[in-house]
């Protein structure tokens, strides 16, 4: 199988001009799962942003399914095929939509489902994650763990082919952790689905390859 993600000689600075990555080379094959660790501020979230095309590298390039991701284009073939499941720590849910509408949005806008069908699918997935009782709540009324789980549900409902999962908010309880694991395992049943999981998000069941960000580079191995 080919690479779903390929990072080639990438150097990236943060907003303050500090170099986060320097001549970074990394790849993830289709169906693979990578778990990225790093000390606070090491750049795990920045790495996820890089993989999603949200950060423009100063040097080098990121290839998503063989096609360059920068400059970012909504016509990128991968976005039409399966798309990215984006799960930032704070959830990234739209504040003016309910949780259910947030989950249904990619189904309507990208997959072309009718409103009724998109909402049905969204509700099914929310039920699977024990969040259906919160479907009508807006993000500000949700707990941080519910927002993060909501973003996982949104990725699952959209049948994303590449999941970029940032670490969950602090204080994720056992029940929420079990729900997250169930969603990730369910998505992993598709052999074409790949995962990049940052920090302590539960990827234990996914046979993840462990990586560490150290001094602007990614090295193999877990937490030291």
């Amino acid at each position: 199988m080919g690479d779903i993600l390929r990072v080639e000689d990438v150097s990236l600075e943060n907003a303050e001009g500090r170099l986060v990555f320097q001549h970074l080379d990394w790849n993830l094959s289709v169906g693979g799962c990578a778990r990225i660790h790093g000390a606070p501020g090491a750049g795990t979230s920045a790495f996820l942003r890089l993989c999603a095309g949200l950060a423009d590298p100063e040097e080098g390039r990121v290839l998503l399914d063989g096609v360059a991701l920068s400059p970012y284009a909504f016509s990128h073939p991968f976005l039409k095929k399966g798309g990215i499941g984006w799960v930032p720590m704070e959830g990234g849910l739209l504040v003016n939509l309910s949780l259910g509408a947030n989950v249904a949005l990619p189904l309507r806008f990208l997959r072309g489902h009718s409103q009724v069908r998109a909402e049905e699918i969204a509700l099914e997935w929310l039920e699977a994650a024990h969040l259906s009782s919160r479907a009508e709540a807006r993000p500000h009324a949700l707990e941080p763990r519910e927002r993060w789980l909501g973003a996982l549900v949104r990725a699952a409902a959209a049948e994303a082919n590449l999941w970029l999962v940032d670490q969950p908010p602090p204080g994720l309880d056992l029940q929420a952790r079990a729900q997250a694991t169930r969603l990730l395992r369910n998505a992993a049943a598709n052999p074409e689905t790949s995962f990049v999981i940052a920090g302590n998000a539960d990827a234990g069941q996914l046979n993840a390859t462990e990586f560490r960000i150290e001094q602007g580079r990614i090295v193999s191995g877990g937490i030291q």
């Binding site: 907003a15 942003r49 999603a52 095309g53 949200l54 970012y72 909504f74 990128h76 976005l79 039409k80 798309g83 990215i84 499941g85 984006w86 930032p88 704070e90 990234g92 849910l93 739209l94 504040v95 003016n96 949005l105 990619p106 309507r108 806008f109 990208l110 072309g112 009718s114 409103q115 973003a151 949104r154 959209a158 994303a160 970029l164």
Partner: protein, 273 residues
């Protein structure tokens, strides 16, 4: 120790470099608004038919907030404006025995100038500032990033409904505002002055020509598109801190007001000048 000539050069640079800063910023903002407008047109043409439902829903929400919720305020303002204008104009014109031109003057004043301008001021105060604050907040909270990462074009999902909603809202509000202002003028004329309703409406009918309708529709479309565009641009200019949100809102209100008055004056001079 720097030589004297270099010191003088530094001093001159320090003095000269801020000159024209305001103009440069203003031109940069103008450029970003123009770029955003063109980008919105391009992405409007790139919408797929199955995305129109989402766009329609979002536009409907925007119209409800901008037009429907603002209707009581707009109608009250316009009724009072029509009545007060008529009282002032009557006081001046009756001295010359020109009361028959009262409704004509009222119609031209309200339809040509006051209606579009005051509706724009109401929309800027109620909705423009809200759009700027909402966009700034959405950008800072990472929602724009989330949309991009999922492949949802934020220009199509966030910007286009607000611009289309702005055009529809300002257009509808101006028509209702003008009608209510003329009604306010008529009520005052009917109750206080020796003017017959027949004469009032006859003169009103004569006063409203195609040019009045064209200028009203042109101003409605231009103002309706320009206000959300400027406010969206100001809101999206925030970078990293929530303290930038009030600054963005103020900049949006000021820039929108200036743009509306300038464009309004330009259109009036173009048609009547």
């Amino acid at each position: 120790m720097l030589p004297k000539a270099t010191k003088a050069q530094f001093g001159l640079q320090r003095f000269a470099s801020p000159l024209g800063g305001g103009l440069r910023n203003w031109l940069a903002h103008l450029g970003s608004v123009a770029w955003l407008g063109l980008t919105c047109v391009r992405h409007l043409l790139g919408l797929r038919t199955n995305q129109l439902g989402v766009l329609y829903d979002q536009t409907k929400l925007q119209v409800r907030f901008t037009a429907l919720d603002a209707l009581p305020l707009a109608l009250l303002t316009s009724l009072l404006l029509g009545g007060i204008t008529l009282i002032q104009v009557f006081a001046q014109m009756s001295a010359f025995g020109a009361e028959t031109y009262l409704s004509q003057l009222l119609a031209q004043l309200v339809i040509r100038e006051l209606g579009p301008l005051l509706v724009s001021v109401i929309v800027i105060g109620r909705s423009g500032t809200a759009i700027a604050a909402e966009m700034a907040s959405i950008k800072l909270s990472g929602e724009v990033d989330a949309l991009c990462a999922m492949g949802i074009n934020p220009i199509q999902y966030l910007l286009l409904p607000r611009i289309l909603g702005g055009i529809i809202s300002v257009f509808s509000l101006i028509i209702l505002f003008d009608a209510a202002a003329l009604l306010g003028g008529f009520l005052v004329a009917w109750s206080r002055f020796p003017l017959s309703p027949q004469a009032f409406f006859h003169a009103l009918g004569n006063a409203i020509q195609w040019s009045e309708l064209i200028i009203t529709f042109s101003k409605a479309t231009v103002f309706g598109g320009l206000i959300p565009l400027i406010c969206l641009s100001s809101g999206l200019r925030v970078r990293s801190s929530s303290t930038e949100i009030p600054q963005a809102v103020t900049a949006a209100a000021v820039a929108s007001l200036v743009a509306v008055f300038l464009v309004g004056a330009f259109l009036s001079v173009l048609v009547y000048g």
